[in-house]
C-alpha cells in the first residue's frame, strides 16, 4: 500500500506544479477582487467556440476579453453584429491573476443592455 501512497503524493504534487504553470480560462484564474470595466471600440472580434473573445484597447495595451460560448451568447441575446469590429461596447469583468492583459467578462453592455455571460 505504501507504493500507492507514494504514487498519489507524486501525482498530487505534479498536478499542483502543472496548475501553477499554465492558466486557462476558468473563473479561478481571474481576480474577482479587481472588478474592471473597459469601454471603447472593438479592435478584433472572434465569435468562436469554445468561447468568443474580443480585443480592446485599455491603458495603452491591447486587452483580450474572454466572453462566453457562442450558444450562450446567442441565448442571452447578444448578436454577432453588436460585437463587430468598430462597435463601441462596454465589458465588465476581472483581470488575469498573473498579470496577462486578459479579462474574463462578467457582463457586456451592448446598445444599453447588460448581457450576463456567466
Amino acid at each position: 500500500m505504501r507504493i500507492f501512497t507514494k504514487i498519489l503524493a507524486v501525482g498530487l504534487l505534479a498536478i499542483a506544479t502543472i496548475t501553477s504553470l499554465h492558466a486557462h480560462h476558468g473563473w479561478n484564474n481571474y481576480d474577482a477582487t479587481k472588478k474592471m470595466t473597459i469601454k471603447g471600440p472593438v479592435l478584433k472580434s472572434t465569435i468562436s467556440n469554445p468561447h468568443a473573445s474580443l480585443v480592446m484597447a485599455h491603458d495603452g495595451a491591447d486587452w483580450t476579453i474572454i466572453l462566453a460560448p457562442v450558444a450562450r451568447l446567442e441565448s442571452r441575446g447578444a448578436k454577432t453584429e453588436q460585437l463587430a469590429v468598430g462597435k463601441v461596447v462596454s465589458v465588465t469583468g476581472y483581470p488575469d491573476k498573473n498579470g496577462a492583459k486578459e479579462m474574463r467578462a462578467e457582463f457586456v453592455t451592448l446598445d444599453g443592455a447588460d448581457i450576463q455571460l456567466r
Binding site: F4, I7, G11, A14, I15, I18, T19, L21, H22, A23, H24, H25, G26, N28, N29, I47, S48, N49, P50, P69, V70, A71, E74
Partner: protein, 170 residues
C-alpha cells in the same frame, strides 16, 4: 531541399496555421451547437468506456468474482474499443478548435501522456498475462501483477478524466 521541406512541414506555426484553415476546424469554431454537442458526445462515450473498463479491472482485481475473466474481458473490451474510438474522434474535433492553445497547455499534454501510459499498460497486460487470464475461471484469483495493472488502469483512466476536466480551468 527535402530537409527544408520537412522542417517547414513540422514547423509549429505552419502546422497550426494549416489546421486553422481546415473546414472542420472552422465548423467547430463557428457553428453554434456543434462544439457543445461534440463535447457532450465526448463525455457520454467516456461513460460507456469507463463502465467497460471498470468491469474488466474489477474482475481482475477480484471483484465480480463469479465472472470468468477471459470471456468477460473479451466482451467488455469490444465495448471499450468502440467507445474509445468515439472519445478519440470527439476529442480530436474539440482539439481542432483550440489547437495552438492546447499544444502548449501542460494539463492537456499531461493528459495525452497519461493516455499513452494507460494504453501501454493494456498492451503490457495483454502481452504478459493474456494466457493466465484466459486460463482462469469463475472465482479464480489472478496473479498479483495482474491486479497491480488493473488498479493502475482504474487510477490512470480516472486521472485522465480529471485532467480532461481541468483543461478548462488551469
Amino acid at each position: 531541399m527535402p530537409m527544408a521541406f520537412l522542417s517547414a512541414a513540422f514547423d509549429f506555426a505552419t502546422v497550426m496555421g494549416a489546421i486553422e484553415q481546415w473546414p472542420l476546424t472552422q465548423a467547430m469554431k463557428s457553428s453554434t451547437y456543434l462544439y457543445p454537442f461534440i463535447n457532450a458526445g465526448h463525455i457520454l462515450s467516456l461513460m460507456v468506456f469507463f463502465a467497460a473498463v471498470a468491469v474488466m479491472d474489477l474482475r481482475l482485481l477480484g471483484g465480480l468474482k463469479t465472472l470468468a475473466p477471459g470471456p468477460t474481458i473479451r466482451d467488455a473490451r469490444r465495448i471499450a474499443i468502440a467507445a474509445f474510438v468515439v472519445i478519440a474522434a470527439t476529442g480530436g474535433l474539440m482539439f481542432l478548435a483550440e489547437a495552438a492553445e492546447l499544444s502548449s497547455n501542460w494539463v492537456f499534454l499531461s493528459k495525452l501522456a497519461l493516455i499513452g501510459f494507460a494504453l501501454l499498460n493494456v498492451v503490457a497486460l495483454e502481452f504478459a498475462f493474456a494466457r493466465s487470464i484466459s486460463a482462469a475461471g469463475p472465482n479464480d484469483d489472478l496473479p498479483a501483477l495482474v491486479r497491480v495493472s488493473a488498479a493502475l488502469s482504474l487510477l490512470l483512466w480516472l486521472s485522465i478524466a480529471m485532467f480532461g476536466r481541468f483543461i478548462a480551468y488551469f
